[in-house]
């Protein structure tokens, strides 16, 4: 177990290095001159352009640029925004809490919806109930998040006025108002993921239903509720935990769309604005940060899986 964890942690460094190199290379493939963006498109003075290129180190060979960039990255320096001149680390520090909260809130809601639904669908002996649950989950997987979010705003914020529009106070300042304001975005993000998790719970419950220990538990005379809760759910949730982990990673990507719909000033919206404004240092930092978090979550999921399922640990 410890050797496995150590091995995975050692492998993390080269993965992060390759990802960084790839992000660096991809950003260099974007057409357009970063120096021109910084200078403004109306300014075409070649001397000023050359000076900016020199300042940015763009006149040096690409490998030198990469090594310098990597050196700064390791020290936690992501450069400055080409538009505002502010340090990107400060911009990310402002935006990241919104994205993380949205992702965590979305995940919690997804799990709260999915586990009871999936358990019910996987254990019910009523064909109608199962078909109903399956229809709901397939519908959930088929809804475009940007559409659901837009309709939520129209119905609950504009018409019924239950939820505020564009109000996202900080969690530590006004926890209740914050959770209320984030509810619709989090629910929008949660729906397709709840559907995916519910399907997995259902499939997993169906698979463990035939296991010997479930038959033994029933033969012991345990009530159906206890059989499901103590014996089936516990085992059925092992693959589900992996899926939840995978989804946690995807929530970060999915939040790009939801942040845009609800105008949440998170990392995804920051990245989209950077694209529109051609602020490539910011875009690069956003891609890098989200990918790093994604890689780390995937690592955690793998480790958690080994921890939960001893068969993998000793294999």
């Amino acid at each position: 177990m410890q050797r496995y964890i150590a091995k995975r942690l050692v492998l993390l460094a080269p993965v992060l290095f390759v990802v960084s190199a790839l992000v660096f290379a991809l950003m260099r493939l974007i057409p357009g001159d970063p120096a021109q963006v910084l200078l403004g498109f109306e300014n075409t003075d070649p001397e000023q352009l050359a000076a900016v290129r020199r300042d940015l180190g763009l006149d040096r060979p690409i490998t030198v640029q990469f090594v310098r960039w990597l050196g700064r990255l390791v020290r936690g320096d992501l450069g400055t925004s080409a538009r505002t001149g502010r340090p990107i680390v400060a911009l990310l520090a402002e935006a990241l809490p919104f994205t993380l909260e949205l992702a965590v809130y979305g995940l919690v809601l997804a799990v709260l919806i999915a586990i009871p639904m999936g358990t019910l669908a996987g254990t019910t002996t009523s064909r109608l109930a199962d078909a109903g649950m399956q229809t709901l989950t397939l519908l959930g997987l088929s809804l475009p998040a940007f559409w659901v979010g837009s309709l939520f705003i129209l119905l609950f914020s504009v018409h019924l006025r239950w939820f505020p529009v564009l109000s996202f106070p900080a969690l530590w300042r006004a926890p209740a108002a914050n959770l209320w304001g984030f509810f619709l975005p989090a629910l929008t993000l949660a729906i397709p993921n709840a559907a995916a998790i519910a399907r997995m719970v259902r499939a997993s419950m169906i698979a463990v239903r035939r296991e010997e220990y479930v038959k033994v538990a029933r033969a012991k005379g345990l009530t159906e509720f206890l059989v499901v809760r103590r014996h089936m759910l516990k085992n059925a949730l092992i693959p589900v935990v992996t899926l939840i982990g995978i989804i946690a990673g995807y929530l970060l990507g999915g939040s790009i769309v939801v942040e845009q719909v609800f105008a949440i000033p998170g990392v995804g919206r920051m990245g989209l604005q950077a694209i529109v404004q051609r602020d490539y240092p910011v875009l690069q930092a956003v891609v890098l940060l989200v990918t790093f978090i994604f890689v780390l979550i995937n690592l955690l999921v793998d480790l958690l899986y080994v921890f939960l399922d001893p068969r993998i640990r000793y294999a």
């Binding site: 991809l26 057409p31 996987g122 199962d130 088929s142």
Partner: protein, 293 residues
């Protein structure tokens, strides 16, 4: 007496097409898909108006006789735009999945069959692609290549490649060890022939199921990119773009937002129903609880 020599045979298992037609879920899904694909194919003939034709006097018309599903800010017919939007969605989804399936599937089969350093190099490359969140990677590709329908198609295709590589590699590893492949090798058959005649048929079913599911997600993907302004560019109709445009006028008229979103959902649901049914048919472990009572 030829009968005496005949070996007892197991009852023939019904083929996949027969099974698909027996499952209510896949029948509903296929029905939805026939309608959606039919509407897209027949769009130029059945659309009441050209998709980009504006009618300044009929802005935000409610659904009715002149405009079946209403009209948008420019007085463009929503029904006609949805029909042409379906063309974009289905074309992008179909071609991107075809791209991912052929490139990823081939890479996966090659990695599995050739093994050794080929396997390591191909699959590590796929792992690197997997290290990126899909939407973020697709957005980055679009930014590099410039927004547009073809770019969207390529971006979605590229991010799906590693999925098909993994799906292709698994069964190949199993088939490679089978006696009939050994026999084919002993007979001196060339590798490409063994792959075509023995490996491909075993890989095709899981790949097909994955492709159906990915068609559903590709439609969602295309619409999300268009919604973000990175996919199909105005004035050409794309369902995601229509929702994005309609959102600005939600209070004047909900229809330009409601109907395109519904149209997306319907197409995605069709593919999801078929994909789900295929998975259940091919994996008996997924048979629901009520079948055993």
């Amino acid at each position: 007496m030829p009968d005496a020599l005949a070996l007892p045979t197991a009852p023939r298992r019904p083929g996949l097409p027969t099974l698909v037609l027996r499952s209510p879920k896949s029948l509903v899904g296929l029905g939805v898909l026939v309608v959606v694909i039919g509407l897209a194919l027949l769009a130029p003939w059945i659309a009441p108006y050209p998709a980009t034709e504006m009618h300044a006097a009929d802005r935000f018309a409610a659904p009715g006789r002149s405009y079946m599903l209403g009209s948008d800010f420019f007085g463009r017919d929503l029904f006609s735009r949805i029909l042409f939007g379906y063309r974009t969605s289905l074309l992008v989804a179909g071609l991107s999945v075809a791209f991912a399936l052929s490139v990823g599937g081939t890479l996966g089969v090659l990695a599995g069959y050739l093994g050794g350093s080929w396997d390591t190099v191909i699959m590590r490359l796929m792992d690197i692609l997997f290290a990126f969140p899909v939407l973020l990677l697709a957005i980055t590709i679009v930014v590099i290549l410039g927004p547009g329908t073809v770019t969207t198609l390529l971006a979605i295709g590229i991010v799906y490649v590693p999925i098909f590589a993994r799906i292709g590699r698994g069964p190949t590893l199993v088939v490679k060890e089978q006696a009939y492949v050994e026999a084919a090798k002993a007979l001196g058959q060339r590798s490409w022939r063994i792959v075509l005649t023995h490996v491909m048929p075993n890989v095709s079913t899981p790949v097909l199921v994955q492709a159906t599911i990915n068609l559903a997600t590709a439609i969602l993907f295309e619409s999300a990119l268009s919604f973000l302004g990175l996919g199909t560019q105005p004035p050409y109709p794309s369902l995601g773009l229509m929702v994005s445009e309609g959102r600005n006028y939600l209070e004047q008229s909900p229809w330009p937002t409601v109907f395109p979103g519904m149209a997306i959902m319907l197409a995605v649901l069709g593919f999801n129903l078929v994909g789900d049914a295929l998975q259940e048919l091919l994996d008996p472990r997924l048979r629901p609880a009520w079948t055993s009572t």
